[in-house]
Amino acid sequence: MADDKPKRVTDIGPPHYEKFLPPVIKDNYGKWKYHEILKPGVMVHYGHSGDKLFTVRAASPRLMSIDKMRDFADLADKYCDGYLRFTSRNNVEFLLTDESKIDPLIEDLKALNHPVGGLGNSISNIVHTQGWVHCHSAATDASGIVKAVMDEMYEYFSEMKLPAKIRIALACCLNMCGAVHCSDIAILGIHRRPPRIDHNTLERLCEIPLVTSSCPTAAIRPTTTPEGKKSVEVIEEQCMFCANCYTVCPSMPLNDPLNDGVSIWVGGKVSNARTAPMFSKLAIPFIPNNPPRWPEVTDAIKNIVEVWAANARKYERIGEWINRITYPKFFEMTGIEFQKEHIDDFKFAGLTYHRTAQLVR
């Protein structure tokens, strides 16, 4: 019993953040005046005090070895008195007070293969998930596609030549741990084959009522196999591959090499700037998995980004641009084929129907 053991430390919570703040931040906490982006990946914040804080933002693969952690620690010691941070999109940021150290730091980062950028009107790092590296649910890999896409999009990370920010996110299954649902471009792993049922283990591993009630389309019914085992069956036409059954029951995997793949979504955003937050919308229903470089995925994304970049107005994020030009133009300009899958048929479907005569030609 816990009581018998030597006292364990629990519920201490994370270390207090103040321990990790550099003096310039402590001094100017809540007293910053404005900032400027000096060049790709480099910005300066001016305090009301007159103090300056320089930030150098560098890419990270997110999946990092402890060796890389130590490399970063070394760089922080060398240039920033040991202070650094990570961003909400998994970039690493070095916090400097000495402007002259910026360029040497950037050189060192480049030598470590960590490009600097992602600030301002650029493509920042791709928020993503586990994929085949760690998750049982994955319909595709995560880190691999991210690497392939960012290799291709590199110039848009390390320069600031886009009309606005682009936030790309990836989730390897519909659980959407990458919360891709409000991204400028979302890459979403999807299954396309109904669960296959392991009747041998199901009764043992799963609660049948929980399984049947987990299905949003009521596609799952209890059944008894010819051998007399209690199990379930799936009405395949009613399945839309959400995998919620699999989440509650390991005996119903949907993973399938021939039918798993990737869908592409566009036009979401999170910020409240200009327009309210928006969900991403389906652009390409399905692209088969093609490791290691998923060329069809990278091409599709490059195409969307470049058509947008060539046509959008300043500060117009992808969703804002499409809302101005309308979706028919988006499909026309990108050459993406409009298919039945694009038409919503879930519960709010009716509200997506085009209920106005306002149409472009």
């Binding site: 816990a2 430390v9 629990t10 519920d11 919570g13 994370p14 270390p15 207090h16 953040y17 321990k19 990790f20 703040l21 910053w32 404005y34 400027e36 914040h45 890419a59 693969p61 999946l63 990092m64 070895s65 402890i66 952690m69 620690a73 922080a76 650094l84 941070r85 990570f86 909400s88 998994n90 994929g131 085949w132 760690h134 049982h136 890999d141 880190s143 691999g144 690497k147 290799d151 590199y154 741990c177 990458g178 919360a179 649902h181 409000c182 959400c242 989440t247 993973n255 399938d256 090499p257 021939l258 999170v270 910020s271 409240n272 200009r274 937050p277 490791p291 300043k314 500060y315 709010f348």
Partner: protein, 401 residues
Amino acid sequence: MANLPNTPKLDELTKGPWPSFVSEIKRAAERSDMCKDLLGLLERSYNEKIGHWKHGGIVGVMGYGGGVIGRYTDLPEEFPNISHFHTLRINQPAGWFYTSEALRTLADIWEKHGSGLTNMHGSTGDIIFLGTRTEELEPTFADLTAAGFDLGGSGSDMRTPSACCGKARCEWACYDTMKACYDTTMRYQDELHRPMFPYKWKFKFAGCPNDCVASIARADISVIGTWRDDIKIDQAEVKNYADAGLDIFDDVVLNCPGKCMKWDGNTLEIDNDYCRHCMHCINVMPKALAPGDKRGATVLIGAKAPIIEGALLSSVVIPFIDIDEEYEEFCDIIERMQDIWSEEGKNRERVGEFIQRVGMGNFFEAAEIDLIPEMVTHPRENPYIFFEDYYEEGDEEEEEE
């Protein structure tokens, strides 16, 4: 130690300008057999186009119900070193600030107990220690707590809250996001470590409507900074932006959702009564404009991913609260909502889905929160109103029953 496996497909991904996760695994594999097997397994997935992980079992550290994701490969014979490959979620410091010392401490602990692979950070915000065996969990935890770190959330508990850098490095922070995040994390340690809710319960703190932690899309409780007095304008600086080439009319005025700005080439006028606090004008001219002094936050509830009723964005509960000053009141309101959801929510029903099921009006009434027009973008369009009372014959006409 075994040799690195042959991974021609993965090796492709060591090329190119973007930092490579494969190179990271390979580097870690130099000292970790787990990582060697991981490379082999992953190459196999790349060939077969399918993952090789099994549903997690329940593993964890003593007294905690969350913080560890159990993981086992389905090819344990071939890849015995990752027959167990569990993940630890470690609560990050608010705002993801570190010292080099802290990073090295974490690295040392993970070198001792696990694969040496991490995610900095997981998409909820935790430090992720990726891959270890069951028997290493408790020792890892002991070393972590000794170093001042603790586990984050998983399962049907409160999840690790996160915050943008806020006042630490941003002129627009309308409240102290990192403090609110830290205080919330500390206040709810029990809820964070011991699953007690119908489903997960996430908090994110963003200092202004730019929402740099995507709170409105990803947190059950989204706290977004805002202000209530006038935007501060330095007209000379506005003019400087214009002179420097900014098209204030096209790029700022036309993008204002409140349609409340005027620019005559010299002076920028804002009718602050109609300003929607969207941040756009401030974003574009940070040197000239700034949020006002009456700062606080909007609190929203209910965002989540699609499973199962469709994705949701959070929606407004409290239009404005000076959360730095009124933190207790904030907690009180949150707890009233949390209690109703915990008592009446169904298993695996996020609070956003719960609210949709029972009706927003009923939910807020039960939580004793005033119903205000800010909660809806527009009133109902359908005439299907559940009036709660009607007159009976014999009632005074003035009196409802």
